[in-house]
């Protein structure tokens, strides 16, 4: 196979990651009839990875701080990002699907890179401190606590736990959109931070 | 009154990776398995890499105990002995030729995770 065929342009003008090359396609370890794809971005992403950690719900993120390797449980598969710009993705149908999924991630990488360049991204220490304080109780305190069940969960506590694991989205709590709950929304912004709120499905 | 055997309900899995005679591992495995079976343990043995030579029929060692005959006794005592197909066929023991002792099955490495789940102890020799 011609190596040129395996090189895909994701964005014609990108702040950081513009292209991805497919390095290998192998049978997937955990899913029959699916593949695991190993890819390489055209740029290193090591400086962006720590900031990416807060962009996703904690339950979907596995960050190996010692090696700066981030594994995301997204799009029904595991996507592992290495600082060198290498990417591995399992449970994938084919390389075209892999490129589609990775384009989404690359977009967020580029956006985060711009935030870091523009100085609008929180420092790593602040992020670590925030994440260590994050638990279901801290989130529950910022919810309406009415157990109205409109979100589909039995209690607000159950909703808080599923938010952390990434199994529900903030937008499902319609109560939060009510004008008398603005203080709750502010509370959530304090506890989660605006980026994580967005990745949890909050639409301001 | 029948005393319940020590090992009743428990399973020991032994994974072997070395061939017979050059090293003593096959012999050691036989002795461990035999004792365990006598004590009522369930015994499963997975033969991997060069251990796929162990249950070959028609072995005729000159001064040493016949490893295949010992493993035949283990089968008779109820041991579940399986051989990795990839390693066996690489070494020329093809399924169609029926190279092994009766009761020894040619399967694949996926037996290992299943056996690990079911076992109380797993040891590797090699």
């Amino acid at each position: 196979m011609d190596m040129k065929d395996l090189n895909y342009t994701l964005f014609s003008e990108a702040p950081l990651v513009g292209e991805v090359t497919i390095k290998s396609v192998r049978p997937c370890v955990v899913a029959e009839n699916m593949v695991r794809v190993l890819m390489q971005f055209d740029k290193e992403i090591g400086e962006v990875i720590p900031s990416l950690v807060t962009k996703y719900p904690p339950g979907k993120v596995n960050y190996l701080e010692k090696k700066n390797i981030l594994t995301l449980s997204i799009h029904q598969r595991l996507v592992t990002l290495y600082p060198s710009g290498k990417v591995s993705m399992n449970k994938t149908v084919d390389k075209e699907e892999a490129v589609e999924v990775i384009k989404d991630v690359a977009g967020l990488i580029n956006k985060t890179y711009l935030e870091i360049q523009g100085g609008t991204s929180a420092s790593h220490d602040k992020i670590r401190e925030k994440l260590s304080k994050l638990g279901p109780l801290a989130i529950y305190d910022c919810l309406p606590k009415t157990n109205c069940q409109l979100c589909g969960e039995d209690t607000c506590m159950a909703f808080a736990m599923k938010l952390l694991s990434g199994d529900v989205e903030l937008s499902m709590c319609t109560e939060l959109l009510e004008p008398w709950n603005t203080s709750k929304v502010q509370c959530l912004e304090e506890v989660l931070g605006p980026e994580m709120m967005q990745s949890m499905g909050w639409k301001p | 009154m029948e005393r319940q055997l020590q090992g009743a309900g428990k399973i020991l899995t032994i994974i072997l990776t070395e061939g017979p005679y050059r090293s003593q591992y096959a012999d050691i495995a036989y002795k461990i398995a035999k004792s365990a079976l006598k004590l009522g343990y369930g015994v499963k043995m997975f033969l991997y890499m060069d251990a796929t030579h162990i249950p070959k029929k028609e072995q005729n060692p000159h001064s040493f105990p016949n490893v295949a005959e010992n493993f035949r006794k283990l089968v008779a005592m109820g041991a579940d002995i399986r051989v990795c197909v990839r390693c066996a066929t690489a070494r020329g023991h093809s399924c169609t030729q029926k190279p092994y002792l009766k009761g020894v099955k040619i399967t694949n490495v996926y037996d290992i995770p299943q056996w690990v789940r079911e076992s109380h102890r797993v040891i590797t020799l090699g």
Binding site: I69, P83, N90 | Y48, V116
Partner: protein, 120 residues
């Protein structure tokens, strides 16, 4: 038992053990049994980056298998074994995590009850 730690102490290509050991790890992960690999002694060579055996001795690459383990399973490389052989972290595949003796002790201690240790 609900977890497997596969210990490899032989260098790849010289012995089949590294290849076969990773194979067992992959089979376990394939059947949803937690599996990690520990490279110790000469086994640390299995995590070197840039292996190209297909071009020379026509053997399948063990390095490729290291990419199939992570992130579902961890790849631990024994630090002292690396130092004894003059290997540094930069020489290894990205997914490899070096562990010193204290960390190794903690890993083993925390898992002993349900872990099957398989030295392949």
């Amino acid at each position: 038992m609900d977890h497997v730690l596969i210990i490899i102490d032989k260098a790849p290509y010289g012995w089949e053990d590294a290849f076969s050991g990773f194979y067992v790890a992959i089979a376990c992960l394939n059947r949803e049994l937690d599996a990690d690999v520990l490279l110790i002694g000469d086994g640390v060579y299995a995590a070197l980056e840039g292996q190209k055996p297909e071009e020379t001795i026509k053997y399948p690459s063990v390095e490729d298998l290291t990419y199939l383990i992570f992130p579902e399973g961890s790849l631990f490389v024994h630090r002292k074994s690396m130092e004894d052989r003059g290997i540094v972290e930069d020489d290894l595949v990205e997914a490899a995590q070096y562990v010193d003796d204290e960390e190794l002790y903690e890993i083993i201690k925390s898992r002993t009850d349900g872990t099957a240790f398989l030295k392949i």
